[in-house]
């Protein structure tokens, strides 16, 4: 390493300070910061509440199916719904829950063809309906609740993980993103719409999605040299997300 003395450091510091001078007027104030913070908090609470409702619906339907017993009629209905799901696209959340839960309650013999391989963990596996596809906002949602819900289906351990800081830069609205602080680093999931150029970061897993876009799942450790968190889960995660995006 080349040594540089105090005089050297002082001259360099002066250069840096000078380079950072001449700032234009700030583009944001405290009011905007607070408003953005509150908006994100409200949106996150809504997403959490929605996810909780979906889980309750799954559990409720599962319990109801269990109480009703594995009659032939139940199995037939569940199978029919599952078959329908493949043809008719996204159902209401409760319908999806029924499709996911009923075959299991019936002994697993009637699982529909659209069900994906079970994700690690105990969360129910959501059926594959119409893919989520591009976002519709004016700017990309960097913490997209719909994408996060899908991520939490395949990586249930990140449920409730705090959102990692992201920029507020307005990206094309078709993109979706989720960035989460997980044990020892940051997990990022990005959906890029059809036609977007992809150059994934090192170690990232990518796959073309059902809507013609690309999903990129990456994680990095906070400390250089540490293992990236969930590194062994990226591959199954991208496999789970690709047909749903």
């Amino acid at each position: 390493m080349q040594e540089h003395g105090e005089a050297d450091e002082a001259r360099i510091a002066a250069l840096f300070r000078d380079a950072a001078s001449g700032a234009p007027p700030p583009g944001f104030d405290a009011t905007q910061v607070v408003a953005t913070s509150r908006r994100i908090t409200r949106r996150r609470r809504s997403a959490v509440a929605g996810a909780a409702l979906a889980v309750l619906a799954v559990v409720g339907v599962g319990v109801a199916a269990g109480l009703g017993g594995p009659s032939d009629k139940t199995v037939a209905t569940a199978s029919g719904q599952a078959a329908d799901s493949a043809a008719s696209g996204p159902g209401a959340g409760s319908e999806g829950a029924a499709r996911a839960a009923a075959p299991e309650a019936a002994g697993g013999s009637g699982a529909g063809p659209a069900l994906a391989a079970p994700a690690p963990g105990s969360s129910p596996v959501a059926p594959i309906g119409t893919p989520l596809g591009p976002g519709t906002g004016e700017c990309a949602d960097r913490q997209d609740p719909a994408l996060r819900a899908l991520v939490e289906q395949t990586l249930p351990e990140v449920a409730g993980a705090p959102e990692a800081a992201t920029t507020l830069e307005c990206r094309p609205g078709g993109e979706r993103g989720v960035a989460l602080e997980v044990g020892g680093g940051v997990l990022t999931i990005t959906y890029l719409p059809p036609g977007a150029v992809t150059e994934p970061p090192d170690g990232a897993r990518t796959a073309p999605t059902a809507s013609g876009g690309t999903v990129v799942v990456a994680s990095r450790a906070d400390r250089a040299g540490d293992a990236a968190p969930l590194a062994d889960r990226l591959e199954p995660a991208v496999a789970y997300l690709a047909p749903r995006l």
């Binding site: 390493m1 540089h4 450091e9 002066a14 300070r17 405290a30 800081a165 992809t198």
Partner: protein
């Protein structure tokens, strides 16, 4: 995972506490906004994006503010958040930065001596920093703009002091290589 400033015990805050917390955040924001913007600018090289990064860091801070107990760690937390935001942005699929193999056009055209060249000198250094890999750039900015010592820089970046020293040396070498003779003050003292 990086730990933010320690959180206060949970529980609902009274309205007075909420108002106090908002006032405290406002005071911190006003005291630190310009410094955070300057740091973000040298990290990313563009004032618009710097504002974007700085705002994102303050938003993240505000979301955690009422749970923060260790206010002495605020600056380090903000710096860490800011660096992470900028470095992550460079790694995103839509905006990956590469260390430049060649010198930015129009930068290495001779020393900037006169006062009239002050603005050009600023741009020279900022352009040169863009050629430095992001983590090394972060070390340089924290050490030479923020004035942090090796230990404090290591704390912000959550790495060892040895890593900070080596990245300082590598970063300066990369910066000097990018700038050539453009900035005399960046040459090693003879």
């Amino acid at each position: 995972m990086s730990q933010g400033p320690r959180n206060r015990a949970g529980g609902s805050a009274r309205p007075g506490e909420v108002a106090d917390a908002e006032q405290e955040f406002d005071a911190y924001f006003r005291a630190r906004r310009d410094a955070v913007r300057r740091t973000a600018y040298l990290l990313c090289g563009d004032w618009h994006r710097a504002d974007d990064h700085a705002q994102a860091a303050f938003v993240a801070l505000h979301r955690h503010w009422r749970r923060i107990r260790d206010r002495a760690a605020l600056d380090a937390w903000m710096r860490r958040t800011l660096v992470r935001t900028v470095v992550d942005e460079t790694r995103r699929p839509w905006r990956r930065e590469r260390a430049a193999d060649t010198f930015p056009e129009g930068v290495a055209e001779g020393p900037a001596d006169g006062p009239a060249d002050a603005i050009a000198t600023r741009h020279v250094l900022v352009d040169g920093l863009r050629a430095v890999p992001p983590r090394q750039r972060a070390v340089l900015v924290l050490r030479f703009l923020e004035g942090l010592d090796v230990a404090a820089t290591a704390e912000v970046l959550e790495c060892s002091a040895g890593t900070v020293k080596s990245q300082t040396a590598h970063g300066l070498a990369a910066l000097r290589a990018a700038l050539g003779d453009s900035l005399e003050d960046l040459r090693p003292a003879g």
